[in-house]
Subunit: 410 residues, 2 copies
């Protein structure tokens, strides 16, 4: 090596990034031909491919989409549709216009833009414990100092948040996944939202509301959003996504921000990539605009509800007696589990996939402080048929037995 | 306003970004229905829309493209095609594999990734004088300190570069647009490249080679790349783009890096957006893979050569007598001009578009130190028919006359 890259690389890239363990597990699943409870992504058999193909084809009647798109925030028609949709669903304050909506390359890009816009090295931010690891990755890259707040079945625990805010000093923002949280599956209730928003106001901090799973609710009452609840407060940034309800490969999500932030976020976008492909945004708009969403979503919900119930039943029957406890959410993709006797979940996950060809995600990666994830595991049911659920649960049970024996013997 | 955003925003977003003046000029062109010599983008009448439509349609035979694409660097088939193509054209060192090629959302995203990977606040980088303003924007956002090196018709002036490196202390990288540079139209000769690469080695710095216009050569001998010339040196990062030879709206470019950097750049990509749409990358691959490129490009070259010559002639005849001098490049999109008696080119550009409805880009925005751009102007001929060229040149001449009179009178 003739170049000493350490001398050239920024601190963030040299020292604060790391490979994704979810990526590693998914690669192992593929290489080993394992049964997979790993991927938090929609099931390919539910992709509306033929309708999306027609929507892409219609984009070709609009040659202007193929130039540099003049609005750096993204396709106006889709932003308009999002504004209307969010208002109709009671998710947006009345002031929201297209100006405050920036289309993103999936929610992750929204997280990236927020990280760039807010975090200076050493800044404190509050994350849920557990939370989405690629958000931790991006916030850590920017130099964030994490303060973890526990979540329970109703969301962030307000008393814990208050205690944290009281002793922490200034906090740049609170990052919360509000519906069917990744990985816990928990949903923040509106009652909790009111308390948490009140705390955000009293301690003068910002709320980043990440909401990719909202429309994957299989039962129960939909909850509102911080973004609408805040009204004219202008203290909430909202992240939405089409990845889960259309398909991930279109890479279209959005970020809605308070009016004061809109010009800065657009300038930041220009510096990152000028603009995103308007073609894919057009296809999403064309696909969504006249659709009967309740009936479209109902088909999806039926499939995922069946898979959720089958995997929950199989895991309880096969692995419950061995000490696995699981939480079953009202929507989303994830069952969240605990194995009380298990310390090192990463070792166990590697063992289970190698020895029994069953893949799942060790829970420790979802915690800013990995030690907090002791004994936790995440199972995704989105792509798992009832037959595979049973076979996978049996494999997991074998892995648990053998691993426990090896622990006892060591 | 209830939130004091100054307290929350990062320094880069609060203070280092600014609206794009090119964006402002293009918006004015549209609002005023002006003749435009502004946009550095391909002409829509040359978009291969029907072929691209078929390529997009074929993507729908590959459902795996619509999931989260497993390679964060982008579609393997396209990266393989790029590696082969670059080697066949003598642009890549023999060690290059798909591992070192990251597909990007246009070249701007490559610039963004490089800025994130290398620049810490206060770091010195060397930019050409003049250079691409959105690169300046992104590098400035990251806190770069600019050192400007002059370019002439053969590229960066080696003696000036050496003097700069000698007195500057460590420099993170040299950013150079090597073919038909934006805005000057100048191309770095291979003789110059050898001298500049030698200086980069002696002073231990990196070369960032931005090459979006390479395949828009209308005459003359193609030049090689720093990337190939460096061989096993591993000191060059190469940025390529399909925006100019297919169309900008697909938003597909690439970044090729030395082997040691590849894993870090992929991790950085994950933190920014997980992955880009594999669909658009597939369409680009499908479009390019069996194409007879020389004959495909020849049609494009003929059209642009005609437009270049028509605009150059019209400007010389109409505006030459008023003091406009222009450089005519062997390719690309731009004529670079100087008006010796003109100080404030931004004021003049606003005057010309408002009063005479003729749009062009004031040259000062292409300089890290705007004062260096005194009297310079950029004209793009890519979208200008010969008729419009003549009418636009007449309007510019009227604007020059009237503006000069008003200067004399003030």
């Amino acid at each position: 090596m003739q170049v000493d890259w350490e001398r050239f690389l920024s601190d963030k890239v040299a020292h604060r990034l790391e490979p994704s363990l979810i990526g590693e597990m998914m690669k192992l699943v593929k290489e080993l031909g394992a049964i997979s409870f790993t991927a938090g992504e929609p099931s390919a058999d539910l992709y509306p491919l033929e309708e999306l193909r027609a929507s892409f084809d219609r984009a070709f009647s609009e040659p202007s989409l193929f130039a540099y798109y003049p609005h750096n925030g993204g396709l106006l028609e889709l932003r308009r549709w999002i504004v209307d949709w969010m208002k109709k669903d009671g998710l947006a304050p009345s002031w929201l216009t297209t100006r405050e909506v920036l289309l993103t390359n999936g929610s992750q890009e929204g997280i990236h833009l927020i990280a760039e816009a807010f975090i200076e090295e050493g800044d404190a931010i509050i994350v849920e414990s557990p939370t989405y690891p690629e958000a931790l990755l991006t916030f850590r890259r920017q130099g964030a100092r994490f303060l973890s707040v526990p979540v329970d079945r109703e969301g962030i625990v307000p008393e814990a948040l208050e205690a944290l805010l009281e002793k922490s000093g200034p906090v740049k923002f609170i990052y919360s996944i509000v519906n069917f949280q990744n990985p816990s599956g928990y949903t923040t209730t509106d009652e909790r939202k009111a308390k948490i928003l009140d705390l955000a106001r009293r301690y003068d901090t910002i709320l980043v509301e990440d909401d990719p799973y909202r429309y994957l609710r299989y039962e129960g009452r939909p909850q509102g959003s911080y973004f609408a609840l805040d009204g004219d407060g202008g203290r909430v940034l909202y992240l939405g996504s089409f990845s889960k309800i259309i398909l991930p490969g279109v890479r279209v999500g959005w970020l809605a921000v308070p009016p004061e932030l809109a010009p800065k976020m657009t300038e930041l976008r220009v510096s990152c990539e000028i603009s995103l492909p308007a073609i894919t945004q057009y296809a999403v708009w064309d696909f969504m605009k006249d659709r009967d969403l309740p009936s479209y979503l109902a088909t999806m919900h039926d499939a995922y509800r069946t898979r959720r119930d089958a995997l929950a039943l199989a895991l309880r029957e096969e692995c419950g007696p061995l000490g696995l406890e699981i939480d079953v959410p009202e929507g989303g993709f994830f069952l969240w589990g605990r194995i009380a006797w298990l310390d090192d979940v990463v070792s166990f996950a590697r063992y289970a996939i190698t020895e029994e060809k069953i893949g799942f995600i060790p829970g420790s990666i979802f915690f800013a402080d990995k030690a907090d994830g002791r004994g936790t595991v995440r199972f995704s049911f989105a792509k798992v048929s009832p037959d595979l659920a049973r076979e996978g649960a049996k494999r997991l049970a074998r892995a648990m037995k053998a691993y426990r024996s090896s622990m006892a013997g060591s």
